[in-house]
Symmetry: none
DNA sequence: ATGATACTCGAACGCCTGTTCTGTGTCAAG
DNA sequence: CTTGACACAGAACAGGCGTTCGAGTATCAT
């Protein structure tokens, strides 16, 4: 039978290259070139680095984009572009208007922001205009949203049936989160919890849709009331 | 030819370039080259692309690594290290036991996983032993958790008062999410919704704590029932 | 008008980079 | 010993790429 040499599994040099790519990427925000790998791993020839890179690719440790400069990435690492920074514009709270963004609000003016993995987002909502709000008070509880939650919204002025929207009810003088349904006589705002009754809004009443909820995040690092 | 002048803020072309970089990166896992940007944004000269890239960098929308191929990245994209990959071990559902991890479960054996920005996590919970579960059915609704939600858990066997835990109730033969309180006669499992009554568990009954909920994520990209 | 500013183009330069080819030495199997 | 797979070096090639420069055009304030 074939007695393998030091070629079983990944050798020391493979690991060294892997480690270097990881550390280089952390420092430079982009992958190293073949020559840079060679220099820092004591490999004098680019072909040898290429040789090892091919092996690492076959071993599934690495992905390569041939012909492209620094076209390599470690598997298991999500690419940089896959994170969205969503600005937290303020607080949503019954009785208070939502601090809605102007059409060209500056993302940097937001006091705070939350990072969301793009993989969590529906592909359609990956635009840059998303914004987030802190939920204050328990008035949104009928929408399965609790005090302290963070809601991620997409700014819209119209909604389709079944979508959860943030609305400003002029007659009641409050903001709330409800499921939206358009009906003959007007609009029905349906709480998520069936135990609560829907709010009916007639066509002549003003209904101010501020945004459509695309995600709710609850950090449970605090104690319950 | 009409040349639009928009010296204030970002023009249409800036946005187009920004969008292209984002979409290119999503597709190719690495940034585009200057010439690729030019082709897809109808800019015939590389110098013009470079011109816009410089402006975007000054505007803080972009970072560039000069002299390096495809050395650009959108700001707001956090580096790899700041993301936690949490394995989704399975489904939590009333009447079914929780697929709890063995002490040394393999993260790669998980069918699925979710990426969570480390910045969203309480610092204490940033260990690697977190796991996630899909919530199925509406039996957890009394804990403000709905069908389709994703709960992130930290494996614990004991809980402190006020923490939300996933427990297996042997007598009732179901799993549920409740706030945990230790009392004189036993344990009180308090639903989040005050409208529901707590479950009392006597000391002699078996109470199997599976994990402590540290986060709840709800994607609202689907229609309500 | 006139200059300043903003924007666009095309071409050339030169480095950077992945690829490929040839060659050398080692080591185990036949 | 011969063979062949394996590990490595060095050099050269060709194309990719960012950069720079010169020149031209449109818009606006003076």
């Amino acid at each position: 039978m074939m007695m393998v040499r030091k070629s079983k599994g990944l050798g020391e040099r493979h690991q060294k290259i892997l480690d270097f790519i990881a550390s280089y990427q952390r420092e430079h925000k982009h992958p190293p070139s073949i020559r840079e790998i060679g220099e820092h791993c004591n490999i004098s020839s680019t072909s040898v680095v290429n040789y090892y890179l091919d092996q690492l690719e076959k071993a599934g440790q690495l992905e390569r984009d041939r012909k492209i400069s620094r076209g390599m990435r470690l598997v298991g690492n999500t690419p940089l572009g896959d994170m969205l920074r969503v600005p937290v514009l303020g607080v949503i709270q019954a009785g208070e208007p939502i601090p809605i963004p102007t059409s060209d609000f500056n993302p940097f003016s937001a006091e705070d922001s939350v990072d969301i993995a793009a993989s969590l987002m529906p592909s359609r909502e990956k635009g840059k205009d998303l914004f987030a709000l802190h939920v204050q008070g328990d008035s949104m509880i009928d929408a399965m949203v609790n005090d302290g939650d963070i809601v991620i919204l997409k700014p819209v002025v119209e909604a389709r049936n079944g979508e959860m929207v943030a609305v400003w009810l002029n007659e009641r003088n409050e903001t709330t989160l409800k499921y939206f349904y358009k009906e003959k006589e007007g609009y029905r705002l349906q709480p998520a919890n069936p135990a609560y009754k829907p709010i009916m809004v007639k066509k002549n009443e003003s209904l101010d849709i501020k945004g459509k909820v695309v995600m709710v995040i609850r950090k449970v690092d605090r104690l319950a009331a």
